[in-house]
Symmetry: C2
Subunit: 164 residues, 2 copies
């Protein structure tokens, strides 16, 4: 059996209850700005990768601020540093992390059909990557592991349609 620490969509905590920004701040002695908080909460609600310009469009109305590109990227940079948001390289987009974390081998499964994204932490993959790196004498910094494909929901929907 595998070490899947996170088996739910990335915007939910393990018990299935969405975290609030306030809870996270309390836990970590963190004070989010309005922009940072609204981006984080939007990504939690959304549950799938969203581009920086998509965030701008979505949040433009709901915010007193103007939300120019530099502002969005700065807030995202902060949230990434705190381990609250991850960048999905294959989509040039950003997703809320399943839980605050840092510098581990998180693996993202991203559905080509519905866009959903699931974050897992796989000790086995991490160990194997470390092993291969050691063989090469390579010191690993950031790990990007993204698997594109079709999620279970979309697969069963596919199967249902094919059966008709």
């Amino acid at each position: 059996m595998n070490t899947l620490l996170q088996r739910k969509p990335a915007h939910q905590c393990p018990e299935g209850r969405p975290l609030s920004a306030e809870e996270v701040c309390a836990e970590r002695g963190l004070q989010l700005s309005e922009v940072q908080r609204s981006i984080l909460e939007y990504l939690w609600r959304r549950g799938q990768p969203v581009g920086a310009y998509g965030l701008m469009r979505e949040l433009k109305g709901t915010l007193t601020r103007q939300l120019s590109p530099p502002t969005v990227y700065r807030a995202l940079e902060f949230l990434q540093k705190e381990g609250l948001v991850a960048r999905i390289e294959t989509k040039n987009a950003f997703v809320a992390c399943a839980r605050p974390h840092r510098n581990r081998a998180y693996v993202y499964f991203i559905c080509d059909t519905c866009g959903a994204s699931v974050e897992i932490e796989s000790a086995e993959i991490e160990a194997q990557v470390a092993h291969d790196a050691a063989f090469l004498g390579f010191r690993i910094g950031r790990r990007v592991i993204e698997l594109e494909g079709t999620c279970a929901d979309c697969l069963s929907r596919e199967a249902a349609n094919a059966g008709c």
Copy 2:
């Protein structure tokens, strides 16, 4: 011990001898155009990820053609389809594959310091990824596995400088 099918920089074959475009074409019944061939050969010589606009700049002089962005991206698309070139998502760049291939779990180690890139094929990582995907009921399409860090050469250079 690990299954590292490729232990040399990505622009060399395992025996350390760079392939020529002609050899690849002969092997695969493939006819490369001038643009396709010159891009592939440049990436072989270079041995590290290069962006599309970098390719344009580098090849502008050496070519009778104009080499506009669409032309470069079309050639890169072709080379990727043939498994001769891989896109490095973390760099928005392209690198010659260690060998022609398709749809396997290739892993890229990319040095933040010198930009060098090494492609390996790790059966263990592939198996583990497949295992985790099966657990989620996820059907995998493209796999993107990119590890950023410091290569062995740059590490020893670092150590040498620190020793002074």
